[in-house]
């Protein structure tokens, strides 16, 4: 018994231990070869409006893509897209093309960025702080170009819901008033609890704690939640429980029976884009 007690105490004194938060992120190198040749013709963009840029986020450099006229950020409505858990923005170039043609060619400005450790962005994403800093670095640029809250649309896909939640709950220097949560996660605890079947908190394995339900309760703006009931990455039931905490000015659900985590591919671009466009224009 004394030996076990000693082991127990020594474990408490471990200066550091493995944290799975970094390993949960799937970032890797990217090519950033953003060309029309990789897009379906219907999503071609004016290649002169493709801008690859970088920003400082703490000690790291974040790479972002803007599609549109930078000079018109002061007057355009801008879609800020927080991408899902894939290696880099390369995986979302087609999504960028779709958004750049939403409502007509270059009707909206479009921006996305790679979190630390994704694509060319340096460093490693480690949790809420790094994700918030990266988000802020990008939004600071948009603010400096004259973007205001009434023209900012944030669209968060899967992993992107993690930084979007706290940002919507008051953590964005440009307050968010229109938010699309596409196939969001729910809470860090739920991931742990669904994996174990026990009431274990996520702090057993990671310091990355998130609670999108609480974020939505604190978010006062408009929310569109899109989810498939057969999502095996972000379970529908828990995402629903989190999103329905929303108590803001407008709430809309777009629920698709038997559709999975790749929602846009499952329901088709027309339905996907139409739902988002209707929400933006309402």
């Amino acid at each position: 018994m004394r030996k076990f007690f000693a082991l127990f105490v020594s474990a408490l004194l471990l200066p550091s231990c493995a944290d799975v938060s970094a390993a949960m992120f799937a970032g890797s190198d990217g090519t950033y070869n953003f060309k029309n040749e990789w897009l379906d013709p219907e999503y071609h963009v004016d290649e002169s409006k493709i801008h690859l840029m970088d920003f400082q986020s703490d000690e790291d450099t974040i790479y972002a893509l803007y599609v549109g006229d930078i000079a018109q950020i002061a007057s355009d409505t801008i879609i800020l897209y927080l991408h899902g858990n894939a290696s880099s923005m390369d995986n979302f170039w087609e999504t960028a093309g779709l958004f750049a043609n939403l409502g007509g060619p270059h009707h909206f400005g479009f921006m996305m960025y790679d979190y630390r450790g994704f694509g060319w962005s340096t460093g490693r994403s480690t949790g809420a702080a790094s994700m918030a800093a990266d988000y802020d670095a990008v939004v600071a640029f948009l603010e400096s170009q004259g973007l205001t809250s009434d023209r900012l649309i944030v669209v968060a896909n899967s992993l992107g819901s993690l930084p979007a939640g706290p940002a919507a709950a008051g953590g964005s220097r440009i307050p968010i008033d229109k938010l699309v949560m596409e196939v969001p996660q729910s809470t860090s605890n739920i991931i742990m609890q669904n994996a174990t079947g026990l009431s274990l908190p996520s702090s057993m394995i990671t310091s990355y704690k998130f609670d999108l339900g609480k974020n939505m309760a604190d978010y006062t703006g408009e929310l569109l939640w899109m989810h498939g009931t057969a999502d095996d990455v972000a379970p529908f039931e828990t995402a629903e429980a989190a999103m329905q905490q929303h108590n803001g000015s407008y709430y809309q659900e777009a629920v698709y029976p038997d559709m999975g985590h790749g929602l846009r591919w499952d329901i088709g671009d027309t339905e996907w884009a139409g739902t988002i466009l209707d929400f933006i224009r309402r």
Partner: protein, 213 residues
């Protein structure tokens, strides 16, 4: 993506399933010290989770044990277990012997010191012949803090069913066990597949090696 799957898989293994330590109580005064490697299946592969334990026969019918899950420790959670195995019905020819166990699993986060304790109990049917021991076991963890799970998704019991073989020869014991994990719940790891037995819960194979003295 692979890293994501591996990491979360390890969590799953470390947290919710540990191999059965003692099936047939040890002789009074006898010690057994062992290492176990849990291998629950994630996607197409099996991943190792390592734990250590010590057990002592405190009487002819009772054996106390305690263990630590080393993999949990690496992830920042102290996971200790302890309990007792008691002989209930002795083996009579082909009629199996029966033992039952009770104890608990304690988890504590080294990050925020969150603590959870899960009492557990189990029953083992075994056939022992010479150095060979076959067993079939049922075990359940009890979650007294099920209400702390987010969105009311907690459950009070987390059962498992297992079958195994042990070779207890002189001072060494080798163990292998197949386990059906939490068949009353759909286990889920983002971006990973958890194979089940007959569509129920998770499944895994565990190995152990121990010395007796």
């Amino acid at each position: 993506m692979v890293r994501s799957i591996l990491s979360l898989a390890v969590i799953f293994l470390a947290a919710s399933c540990t191999p059965t330590k003692i099936i047939v109580p040890l002789e009074q005064g006898q010690w057994q010290v062992g290492l176990t490697q849990g291998r629950p299946q994630i996607n197409d592969g099996f991943l190792p989770v390592i734990g250590g334990y010590a057990a002592k026969g405190v009487s002819e019918t009772r054996t106390n044990y305690g263990g630590v899950q080393l993999s949990s420790l690496l992830l920042g959670a102290v996971q200790l277990e302890g309990g007792q195995v008691r002989s209930w019905i002795p083996q009579d020819g082909l009629k199996p012997g029966v033992s039952w166990s009770y104890g608990g699993q304690a988890f504590m986060s080294t990050r925020d010191y969150a603590f959870r304790f899960y009492p557990e109990t189990g029953i083992n049917a075994y056939w022992e012949k010479g150095p060979h021991i076959l067993n079939a076991s049922a075990n359940t963890w009890v979650d007294p803090t099920w209400f702390l799970a987010d969105f009311n998704r907690g459950q009070i019991i987390a059962p498992s069913l297992s079958a195994g073989y042990r070779l207890r020869y002189k001072w060494i014991e080798a163990q292998v066990e197949y386990k059906m994990l939490n068949p009353i719940r759909e286990l889920h790891i983002p971006q990973a597949d958890i194979p089940s037995t007959a569509g129920l819960g998770g499944r895994g194979v565990y190995y152990g090696i121990a010395i007796n003295f």
